[in-house]
């Protein structure tokens, strides 16, 4: 039974709105099928009225590049066939390319920043080592400065002592018939008014381990302890103190154990009981 033209046309339009027309060809008698095909072709013909639009030059190559696999990727909703086993790749677009370029730029920037940070860290370590080395040198210089200042104070004091009119000097010589250190000599400069004195000794034997020299002042026949000192080979002895006891009549130097308390426990090395004016 042949349908009228309006029915066929409505069917074409309905099919056009629902899905792909070519897959919905109805079961029509030959005379109606020809009409159905004419209207179907007409629906495909009308778009030719539009002014053609040229795709981007790379569009063709992009499509062909996606054909590499046996089944070219198609979005799930575009294919009525069975679902693809893998996620559907999306054709590269301008947005994708811009994002890729941004990602590449960001990666390069991060790499550069990492390299720069590493260089900064190493440079920081180098600077820290240099600062520590300079700090060591400063500490050493300060130690030498302290020693020099102490020496300066000592020699300034000595200069003041020996240049004062009231200062007197007592010569110290080896004691006894067979002295243990016959070549040793000493001088004691003293200012009785200021209770200040200074000892300068020559050729004293270097101290053994646990032994030291000690200066004694004899007051009313009894020894009063002065400074204890050590002598090193080749180093002249020069030392002073402000603890000069008043009323002493003689001065002596003994060699004894560091722990000894009185001069009797040691050996008398130098002795002097004559004081002379300096000037």
């Amino acid at each position: 039974m042949s349908r009228n033209e309006d029915q066929i046309l409505e069917e074409v339009l309905r099919a056009l709105e629902s899905s792909e027309l070519s897959e919905l060809a109805p079961d029509l008698p030959p005379e109606d099928l020809e009409l159905w095909r004419e209207y179907t072709e007409l629906t495909g013909l009308l778009p030719l009225a539009l002014e053609p639009v040229v795709p981007r030059p790379e569009c063709r190559a992009e499509i062909l590049s996606l054909l590499g696999s046996e089944e070219a990727p198609v979005r799930a909703e575009a294919a009525s066939a069975a679902p693809l086993p893998f996620p559907t790749p999306v054709p590269a677009t301008r947005t994708h390319r811009v994002l890729l370029a941004l990602a590449a730029t960001l990666a390069i920037a991060v790499l550069g920043l990492g390299t720069f940070t590493t260089w900064l860290y190493r440079d920081h370590l180098r600077q820290a080592d240099l600062i520590a080395e300079i700090q060591d040198r400063i500490d050493q210089s300060r130690s030498r400065e302290d020693v020099l200042l102490a020496s300066q104070v000592k020699y300034k004091r000595l200069r003041t002592l020996v240049s004062t009119r009231r200062t007197r000097v007592c010569r110290l010589r080896p004691i006894g018939e067979s002295p243990s250190q016959p070549v040793a000599r000493g001088l004691v400069y003293f200012d009785a008014e200021r209770q200040d004195y200074f000892l300068s000794a020559l050729d004293l034997a270097p101290c053994e381990q646990g032994y030291a020299y000690r200066l004694w002042f004899i007051v009313n026949g009894r020894p009063v302890g002065g400074v204890t000192f050590h002598v090193k080979a080749g180093v002249p002895t020069a030392l002073g103190s402000g603890g000069l006891p008043p009323g002493f009549t003689a001065i002596m130097v003994t060699y004894q154990r560091e722990t000894a308390e009185g001069p009797d426990e040691g050996v008398q090395i130098l002795y002097g009981d004559q004081a002379e004016e300096m000037l």
Partner: protein, 189 residues
Amino acid sequence: MQKTPSDADLVARVVNREADALGDLFDRYSRVLLALIRRIVGGAGEAEEVLQEVFLQVWNQAERYDSSRSSVSNWLSLISRSRSIDCLRKARVKERTAQKAFEEDSRLDTSPEGPADVFLTERRRRIRGALGDLPVEQKAVIELAFFEGLTQTEIAERTSIPLGTVKTRTLLAMKKLRKALRDDLRELL
């Protein structure tokens, strides 16, 4: 002189996984199809994505093409229309201004015309002539249906015209177009 392969030959080669054949189909129809797709989806970037989907679908489903049911050009147009409407509905696309997209298109085809282009240009002229001969109200529903992918119901909603009137105008317009373009349709059948 080498004979230019027919559209059906190219589709047959696509079935045999010959990528060059798909490239030839692209060269023949991409500009026409892109014009239709752009008219429906609006944006140029989205339109090219849809165009890619169309040709990838052709590559994957070329064996489904039946020359007894439609011409290749019609088959491609229908796929393009279907994919464009999918895109449009899926994205719930913004109110596109088809006319604006049409006018703003900076890549309108101005390339030198080969023999095939001349043939298509002549056909285009005839189709435009047939559309131009339609009454304005009939031409409007045809353009909304075929250039913007609207259904009869959507046309009725947009134009505030009763659905029955839309259907009547569409049927009348289609009958007139069929008569005016009978020669072109015969060539395709």
